[in-house]
């Protein structure tokens, strides 16, 4: 409507914003009106049809043989470029839901002065500081903007992220200490494998068997080679065994979802 006939490329951004809003209200309103007329007994069918049609895009793209010259079929560029972009855009619009929920939760904490409300205040502060400094960097190249953004990103996002990641090192120690006991055959087996692999992956473990030759039969018993063998042979085979089952489970689930045969989660409810 507005964005097609009235406003042309090159118009100021605020005019565009108004045009987009106008179109959204008119077309979205019309669609909403149409959807409201759908009788409730057809709603499930409509959702199932949308699900099925959406599923056709990637599956047909995969199974229809490509043109040998380009390696693409009639759907490839639509499926891989347009649809991918649409999904990205849609999920970014959905991000608003999450952020709204987060801010609502902490807003209530603040409004009711619940215990720990000052933490909610800090959350609000960090949110707006990060958001605004981000937008500041988009408005021209000012060193103050990029410095502020960099400062907040490093101090409030990167540093706690890296620390949270590294905290696993502590937990891995306590988990290993507690779980690796020779209680049962299974636990002992797990312990043995973990023990050898841990020893084989650090210099001190390699040092233990550094007396063995680097070639020939005995070299197989060097710590680093034992380690590598465990990871490449038994570990790889077991991994494959589990992954085949998991992938078939996922395939079956995808099939049920696509054909709206799934039960459980949120497929039960009357619409």
């Amino acid at each position: 409507m507005f964005t097609h006939w009235i406003v042309k490329p090159g118009a100021p951004q605020y005019i565009w914003a108004l045009a987009v809003l106008g179109d959204f209200l008119i077309m979205g309103g019309a669609l909403f009106f149409l959807l409201r007329m759908v009788p409730s007994r057809f709603r499930k069918t409509l959702v199932a049809a949308v699900t099925f049609l959406a599923g056709l895009i990637y599956s047909v793209e995969f199974f229809v043989p490509p043109d040998p010259a380009t390696g693409e079929n009639f759907l490839t560029s639509f499926a891989q470029k347009t649809v991918t972009d649409v999904v990205l855009v849609l999920s970014t619009f959905a991000l608003g839901l999450g952020i709204y929920s987060l801010l609502r939760f902490h807003g209530r904490n603040l409004a009711r002065r619940r215990a720990g409300w000052h933490n909610s205040l800090a959350l609000y502060f960090a949110f707006f500081a990060m958001l605004l400094s981000g937008f500041w960097t988009m408005m021209g190249k000012s060193p103050a903007a990029s410095n502020t953004y960099d400062m907040l990103f490093r101090g409030l996002v990167a540093a706690p992220g890296a620390t949270m990641f590294s905290i696993i090192a502590f937990y891995i120690v306590s988990a290993a200490y507690r779980a690796f006991r020779i209680r049962s055959g299974e636990a002992t087996l797990m312990l043995a494998a973990a023990f050898v692999v841990m020893l084989g992956s650090v210099p001190i473990g390699e040092y233990l068997t550094s007396g063995l030759p680097t070639t020939g039969f005995l070299s197989n018993f060097r710590m680093e080679n034992v380690n590598l063998w465990i990871l490449k042979e038994p570990n790889m085979a077991a991994w494959r065994g589990i992954s085949f089952g998991v992938e078939i489970g996922a395939l079956a689930m995808a099939l049920r979802t696509w054909l709206s045969l799934e039960r459980g989660s949120f497929f039960e409810r009357e619409l």
Partner: protein, 295 residues
């Protein structure tokens, strides 16, 4: 009084078993504190520790040793401040080796922070070893990650035309180091080393090694290392430095003990701590089982 009587009745083995039993329930905070100590101490005080050079590291070292002096090595930086503790020692060990043997090299970065960090490292080592920018080494600067494949393919056909300018914005052809360097196809690049925490090695294999057989060296973080063994087996990469440990082995080949050697010490001590704790826990477990079966 009663407890005293009971303790008198205890046999010696019983008392020992009781003491050992406590090893079953070490407080987690004690373990956390121990871990912090065994990681920090080797980083602060350097102590001598054995370093065994594994064959993938030896392979990387030999590849650089064998590179003809008229060729150019490329160090590809795909890391940023998140993995600086692993990636920087790898980068510095390679830079130091190339400078020590008077081999020419270029740095190129696909991460903005790594771009600067690697530049600082090279400048520092260069001034230490008396190397001149533009003559002995060059930094081609930062390229956005999205342009990586095009950049690699461009290097294959035309290096000056693809790189255009260096980190300071001057045309690369104005530097003596770039004299006679045309393209990878022309055989002007002797080694390509990639330092990365992400899976970008495949691009070099697909777009450069596949076409021109330029020797590749891969320097992943410890998390990514398992993925390197396949191309290593297949001969597509000539050598690999696994995280801090790989960098430490490389430092020992260069006869140095820099950060990676200390960090590898911390790796050893932290692993040893886990092993000791597991053994202690099991001693405690066995003692309590023995005592229970005896009583």
């Amino acid at each position: 009084m009663e407890t005293e009587n009971r303790s008198r009745e205890l046999t010696t083995t019983d008392r020992i078993l009781r003491a050992f039993e406590r090893l079953q329930h070490i407080d987690r905070r004690v373990m956390y504190a121990l871990l912090a100590v065994v990681v920090a101490v080797p980083l602060i005080w350097n102590f001598k520790q054995p370093v065994v050079v594994t064959w993938p590291v030896q392979g990387a070292y030999d590849t650089i040793e064998k590179m003809p002096a008229d060729k150019l090595a490329i160090i590809d930086i795909v890391w940023d401040s998140g993995t600086v503790a692993e990636s920087r020692p790898q980068t510095e060990a390679l830079i130091r080796h190339l400078m020590l043997r008077n081999k020419k090299f270029a740095i190129v970065a696909f991460m903005p922070q790594g771009n600067k960090l690697a530049y600082d490292s090279a400048k520092r080592i260069g001034s230490e070893l008396g190397k001149e920018y533009g003559k002995d080494w060059i930094h081609w600067g930062y390229r956005p990650g999205g342009a990586m494949i095009q950049f690699m393919m461009g290097l294959g056909r035309d290096i000056p035309g693809t790189v255009k300018s260096d980190i300071e914005g001057k045309p690369v052809t104005s530097y003596p180091i770039m004299k006679g360097i045309k393209s990878i196809k022309n055989g002007d690049v002797g080694v390509i080393a990639e330092v990365t925490p992400s899976g970008t090695l495949d691009y070099w294999i697909a777009y450069v090694y596949g076409s021109y057989r330029t020797p590749l060296i891969y320097c992943p973080t410890a998390v990514m290392a398992p993925e390197g063994y396949n191309p290593l087996d297949a001969g597509q990469i000539k050598g690999m430095l696994t995280g801090m440990k790989g960098a430490a082995e490389y430092e020992s080949l260069l006869g140095r003990q820099d950060f990676a050697t200390r960090a590898a010490g911390a790796l050893s001590t932290s692993h040893l701590l886990i092993i000791v704790l597991i053994i202690a826990g099991n001693i405690g477990y066995i003692s309590s089982r023995r005592r229970r079966s005896e009583s």
